[in-house]
Symmetry: C2
Amino acid sequence: MTTMKDVAAKAGVGLGTVSRVINNSGSVKESTRIKVMNAVKALDYQPNEAARNFKMQKSLSVALIVPTVWHPFYSAFSYYVERELFKNKFKTIICNSRNEVDREIEYIDMLKKNKIDGIIAITYSEAIDQYVTSHLPMVSIDRHFTEDVLTITSDHFQGGCLAASELIRHGCKTIGYIGSVSKIKNESMLRKKGFIEYVEKQGITYSVKEINEPVLDIQREILSFIENTPHLDGLFCMNDKWAEKAIVACELLGKKIPEDIQIIGFDGAKTNEQAEIKHSTIVQPIQTLAQLAVKKLIQIIEGEPVEEKVIVPVTFFEGDTTKKVDE
Amino acid sequence: MTTMKDVAAKAGVGLGTVSRVINNSGSVKESTRIKVMNAVKALDYQPNEAARNFKMQKSLSVALIVPTVWHPFYSAFSYYVERELFKNKFKTIICNSRNEVDREIEYIDMLKKNKIDGIIAITYSEAIDQYVTSHLPMVSIDRHFTEDVLTITSDHFQGGCLAASELIRHGCKTIGYIGSVSKIKNESMLRKKGFIEYVEKQGITYSVKEINEPVLDIQREILSFIENTPHLDGLFCMNDKWAEKAIVACELLGKKIPEDIQIIGFDGAKTNEQAEIKHSTIVQPIQTLAQLAVKKLIQIIEGEPVEEKVIVPVTFFEGDTTKKVDE
C-alpha cells in the first residue's frame, strides 16, 4: 500500500508538505501543490481517512436541529440535508428539539467539545440565542441570532409580494392576509411585509389579521376573519397549514373556492417525495435550502469565509384554489 | 468528589464488583448488589459517564435506517425513535437509504467497527440480508433476515382480518383487496392473507388484485380494478397511499364514497403530530413500535436476552370513507 512517505519521496518534498496539501491546510506554493498532487495521482495514493480525520479532530458528523422531523417541511429538509451531508462523508445526527432549549444546548455543547463538527438549525426557542457564538460552525435557517451566524433563507418578502400579485392577477379586488406572530424574530415575518407593501403600491383594498402565538384555534380565527371581512375574494395565508384551515372555513361558510374566494398558502412542502400539492401556494425551494446549508456549513468547518446571509427565491404554484387565467 | 473506590470501601467489596453493579455487567449476588447500591446512594456517587462509556467502548449513538424520512410513516417513526433514544442518552444518526444497499452496508460496517452501538432498520433492499449477522445489536421493523435478528412488527394479519370484518360490519356485500407484491418478504404481506382468510370464513364474495413492484401507475391499476369488479362495494387497500388513489379513482368513475363504495386503508400515519386522518384505515401504533424498537435494542446492546419477534396490535379508525353504523 502506498503511504504518505512514498508520495513525499516521489514529489521530492517533506512529509509535512504532503500533509498540508492533502488536508488543504496551511500555505503551500502552487507549484509544490501540483507536484504533490501529481505524485498522489501517479501512485494512486488513498489517504487514510480515519487517521486524517483523527488528526484533524473531525467527528465527521453534523447535528441537524429541527422542531420536529414529523412535518412535511422539516422531513423534506432533513431528507435533503442528510443525503447531501452523506455525499460529503458526514453523518447526520437528528434532533427533534420541539423548541426545547435544553435539547438544543446539548448539541451546542457537543459542538463546543468537538464531538460534532457543525450544526444546521431551524430553531424558534428564545433562550438559545445566548448559547450561540459566532466562532462555532453553525448555519441557521430563517432565523438571525445576536452573534454572527450564517442565515440561509427563502425570500419571504418576495413571497409576500408574489402572493399579492398573483391574487390580483387572478382577478381579486379585496384581499386579505392572515397569520400568527412569533415572539422570535425570523425571516418568515417578511411574508406579511411584502404582501402589504405590494398591495399598498397597487392601491388595492386589503385587510390583515395577526394573532399572537400560540394560536389556540386557527380554524376559528380564520373563519371569523373571512366572515367579518366584507367582499373578501382573495386570501393569502401565512403557510399551508393555515391555507388548509381556510379551505375548511370556506366549506363551512358555503363559499366556493376559487369562484367566491381564492386562496394562496406558503411553503409548498409535499407530504412525501411522490406526492403532489393541490392548493395554490408560494413554494420554498427546500432542496436548494438544504444543499446550501450543507455547502456553507462545510465551508465554515473548513475555515473558509462565508457571507452573512444567503437568500433564495421562491416561486408560485398554481393549484386548485386560484382561478385558471390566460397568461 | 466521591470515587468508585469510596463506594467499594463503604460497601466492603472490591472495585470490580462495584464496576459490575454500576455497569450492570457480569454476575453479582443480589445481596452484594444491594450493598453496593446503598453505598452509591449514601455517598451520592455519580459515575463518570464519559469514562464509563469509554471503558464500555460505547459511542452512545444508534443508526436509524429508513427508506426516506420524507414520508409520514417514517417521519413519525423517526420522531419517536429519536425522542426515545435521547431519553436513554443515545444520539440518533439518520440514514435515508432509499433502499440503496451500499448505504445500508456502510452503517452495518460502522456497527461492526463499534463506531455506533446499534441499528434500527426498516429496509427492503435485497442484498442487505447477507451482511446482517445475528451477533450485531440490531432491530428490524417488519422484515425477517436469514440470521436471527429481532423483528418488531404490527399485527398485519390481524389488520387484514380487521379490515375485512369492518367492511362487512359496515354492510359491504362484495369486497376487494388491492396492493402490490414486494420481492422482499416482510410482515406487511400478511395484510392480504388475513383479509382473505377472514372473508373466506365468512363466505363473502371477494376479489383480489396484486401487482408486482415496482408499480408504475397505481392510479390506473386501482381504477381498472374498481371498474372491472362487478358490484364491488367495499375495498381494502394495502396502505393509505393506495387508499388515496382509490378515492381519486372513485371520483373519476362517479362513484360516491361511502354510499356506493367504502374504502379502508392501512398505516394511519398522520402528516404531522397535530394533523388528523380523514379516511377510514387500519392504524399501526407507530409510537409503540418506536418505543419497543429502542427498548429492545438497548437490551440487546446491554447483553440481555430478547425474544425473536414482537407483535403489536393494530386498531380500526372510523373515517369518512366508511358509512356510519350503530354499534
